[in-house]
């Protein structure tokens, strides 16, 4: 086909030239005749392009050998775009249009194609199992040649612009400058790939180097494009023909910037949050990094869920997603709690580090949080359960929620933010003991009570939805979070209403009960009181039974504590394998919470309570669960 075209072209050209000679007999008049005749010129143009094409094929044979199918496809695709843009450029410089101008653009396109091919080749290095010395010689000489040509042409354009003022050379100068950056990045990539090939071990920092190369080159390109657009817009018209490449360059730059940020964060997380896997741990597991399927000898990290990976594999994965590749535990969420727990509660950190995947993972979510907050809670309690202490308690924690949420970069802010909700519960729960204290205080810290067990579960549920909502915009997250906080607020209100009922009851019950309870609370640990709390508030609020219940509460406080313990474990489990469990409970709870939106009246409080009981029932089908129910009812 190509042969046919080129021979037809050859024949046409010879016919045209022969005809001119035949008519004019002499060289000079023949040339004039050809240039004057449009048809002859068209034939000459076509012949010119055919020759360029053949020359390109020759160079390709020398420098690249045969093209792969994918390379050819990409080349063709980019070529058509470039051609369209060139035609657009013609419109701006229609006054300068002459054969020389066409020739210059042809050379530009010609060189561009080779730049693309060189780029493809270098990218291919990473994928090819074996590369001979021929490959290196070819790529090396091609890159050098292209670099020199770009430089020479750039200098030519620069000088002619200086001498003759702005002309179409401006465009060429700019285009060659861009091509020079392309060559630079290709050369850097080539050197990096080649260096990696020479070593026997994977070169861990290559990805980082590549990333930064991309970033720097992207920045240079963006600056060049902006510069060019401004100059062109001032001297000629707005250069439509660079908009497409400029758009892609800016997009790539943004992506590179984003990658660099994500990568930095991943590296920071890895270095600070996760322990290196110890040799014993490596021996215990099957010692294969499941990301790259290679042995882990050194540089392995252990995630809070107990899964072990190569540091580098993990880092490149964390650049995309902040979950454990195996169990999809959200690592941003877990360490967020964990890190606060570590400095304060040593034993939790130790437990997390010690191994035991499931407890560690589970513990990382709800458990460390209370512990981490206990010191603060204790001091509050020590100060004497006063209203002031109670008032001081909640607000900072809410602020924490927001702070945490804002502090997290765009990744999965909600997941980081939400788990912080349990902590506010934790410090507040111990304060339940003084519930015979001045009534004003009650409304304040009792509320968080109603929902304590549901919260973590609900969060697990929310994360899934959030994840989807979140992928788009940060703003949505905040809205979602606000919604959740609103729900909590509503529940606080409803619990407050309930508390008023209790106060009324307590007033009717005489003060004789009152002294008993502080004594009791003093005797029990804060944890037990916390556990006892829910039991009390789950009681039906009829005045007839209230007194008896208050007493049973004292007696039963210890068993209830164990119940609460059991309940806690199940929550943790759920947190740990949220993917495995169908989490029906989660749905119930979220239902309850969404309903809390509507239920504000105290008349509907019983409904809320019923729901919660149902939830507890489901969670604890065990005997301890039923014990709780008997206690409650």
């Amino acid at each position: 086909m190509q042969l046919l075209i080129s021979s037809v072209c050859m024949a046409l050209t010879s016919a045209v030239i022969g005809n001119a000679y035949y008519q004019k007999q002499q060289f000079y008049p023949a040339v004039v005749y050809i240039t004057k005749s449009n048809a002859s010129m068209a034939v000459i143009y076509i012949q010119f392009f055919v020759i360029v094409f053949m020359f390109g094929k020759l160079l390709r044979k020398i420098f690249l050998g045969t093209l792969r199918a994918a390379e050819f496809e990409h080349l063709l695709e980019r070529f058509w775009y470039a051609l369209t843009e060139t035609c657009l450029a013609f419109t701006v410089f229609r006054d300068d249009f002459n054969p020389r101008f066409v020739a210059l653009f042809t050379v530009l396109l010609f060189l561009k194609s080779f730049h693309w091919l060189a780029e493809e080749r270098v990218d291919f290095m990473e994928r090819s199992p074996v590369l001979g010395w021929l490959f290196h010689i070819r790529v090396g000489s091609l890159l050098t040649m292209l670099g020199i040509l770009d430089y020479v042409l750039l200098m030519h354009a620069y000088n002619s612009t200086l001498v003759r003022g702005p002309s179409v050379q401006l465009v060429f100068g700019f285009e060659y400058a861009i091509l020079l950056t392309v060559i630079a990045s290709t050369a850097i990539k080539y050197v990096l790939h080649a260096a990696e090939m020479r070593t026997d071990t994977p070169w861990e920092n290559k990805a980082v180097f590549l990333l930064y190369t991309e970033l720097v080159i992207g920045l240079i390109k963006v600056v060049l494009y902006l510069f060019f657009v401004v100059i062109m817009a001032k001297i000629y018209a707005l250069p439509m023909f660079v908009f497409r490449p400029m758009f892609f360059t800016i997009r790539n730059f943004r992506k590179a910037l984003n990658d660099v940020i994500m990568s930095r964060r991943a590296i920071r997380n890895m270095n600070t949050l996760y322990p290196d896997a110890t040799p014993e741990e490596l021996r215990q597991s099957d010692n294969i990094c499941i990301i790259c399927r290679e042995d882990m000898i050194n540089h392995s990290k252990k995630l809070p869920c107990g899964h072990i990976f190569h540091t580098t594999c993990l880092r490149s994965w964390f650049q995309r997603q902040q979950t454990c590749p195996t169990c999809r535990l959200n690592i941003l969420r877990t360490p967020a709690v964990n890190s606060t727990a570590m400095p304060r509660a040593g034993e939790d950190a130790a437990a997390a580090a010690a191994g035991n995947p499931a407890p560690a993972a589970g513990g990382a979510q709800p458990a460390p949080a209370p512990t981490s907050q206990t010191p603060a809670a204790d001091t509050n309690q020590g100060r004497g359960n006063g209203p002031a202490a109670g008032v001081n308690g909640p607000p900072p924690t809410f602020a924490e929620i927001f702070g945490e949420a804002n502090g997290l970069p765009n990744g999965l802010p909600n997941m980081g933010g939400l788990p912080m909700v349990p902590p506010p519960m934790a410090p507040v729960m111990p304060m339940m003991s003084p519930f015979m204290m001045p009534p004003t205080a009650f409304a304040y810290f009792t509320p968080p009570f109603l929902p304590p067990p549901p919260m973590p579960l609900d969060l697990a549920k929310f994360t899934d939805e959030e994840l989807r909502a979140m992928e788009g915009h940060q703003r949505e997250n905040i809205e979602q979070r606000l919604k959740l906080l609103n729900n909590i607020n509503l529940m606080l209100d409803s619990a407050g209403v309930m508390m008023t009922q209790y106060q009324n009851l307590a007033a009717r019950l005489q003060l004789s009960v009152a002294p008993q309870i502080p004594v009791n609370s003093g005797a029990n640990s804060s944890r037990e009181q916390a556990a006892a709390g829910p039991a009390v508030y789950d009681k039906p609020s009829t005045s007839a039974t209230a007194r008896a219940q208050l007493e049973t509460h004292q007696i039963n406080s210890t068993p209830v504590a164990t119940v609460a313990g059991a309940e806690k474990v199940t929550i943790e489990d759920l947190g740990a394998d949220e993917d495995d469990e169908p989490s029906t409970a989660t749905e119930t709870v979220s239902l309850a919470i969404s309903d809390a939106d509507i239920d504000e009246n105290s008349s509907e409080l019983s409904e809320l309570r019923k729901r919660r009981l149902k939830f507890l029932e489901e969670r604890n089908k065990s005997s301890s669960g039923s014990e709780l129910r008997t206690t409650v009812e």
């Binding site: 792969r68 990218d123 290095m125 990473e126 994928r127 090819s128 199992p129 074996v130 790939h193 990696e196 090939m197 020479r198 070593t199 026997d200 071990t201 994977p202 070169w203 499941i290 990301i291 790259c292 399927r293 290679e294 594999c313 490149s316 994965w317 995309r320 997603q321 979950t323 590749p325 195996t326 999809r328 899934d464 994840l467 989807r468 992928e471 993917d579």
Partner: protein
């Protein structure tokens, strides 16, 4: 030392060759490009695709296994979860974040833990049990749901076609 994607693909190739799962053959189309594979999938027994051998092409991204490969049947297929042009639409092939059908859980999406073998096994089970909720091919989904006989006839014709038998 070659790139990590290449090494992992080589490891998977070795694994698949040494210990091939039943009814699946897969490997690079040419040994100098490990990023394009061809797979042959036998239609699962006891289904309308039984007896057929369906060729497919897998194209791996340069950052495999961080991103999932693309899979496309190179023969004619009529199936609720396969686009008319042969592209396979199953959740394991979708990176978390892009959800063409808007219902998939992130738990069943791509992760570096997945592998070619798991993908192909998922495709086999997809052939056996189409998911008519996500209609990559809506016509096929409707037919599968409402006119199963007709669907089976078409499937059997495709099976004969892949085997080179007269339909």
């Amino acid at each position: 030392m070659a790139g990590s994607a290449l090494r992992r693909l080589m490891a998977e190739y070795k694994q698949l060759t040494l210990d091939p799962p039943e009814g699946i053959v897969a490997g690079p189309i040419s040994e100098d490009n490990f990023f394009e594979w061809e797979a042959l999938i036998a239609g699962p027994e006891g289904t309308c695709f039984e007896g057929g051998v369906f060729p497919a092409r897998l194209v791996f991204p340069p950052d495999y296994p961080l991103s999932p490969p693309k899979m496309k049947f190179t023969c004619d297929m009529f199936h609720p979860n396969i686009f008319a042009d042969g592209r396979v639409c199953i959740s394991i092939l979708h990176a978390p974040g892009d959800d063409p059908m808007g219902y998939e859980l992130s738990a069943e999406r791509w992760s570096p833990v997945q592998s070619v073998e798991k993908i192909l096994l998922s495709v086999v089970s997809m052939l056996a049990e189409p998911n008519d909720e996500s209609g990559a091919n809506v016509d096929a989904a409707i037919m599968w749901r409402e006119r199963r006989d007709e669907f089976n006839t078409i499937a059997r014709r495709l099976v004969r076609k892949t085997l080179g038998l007269p339909t």
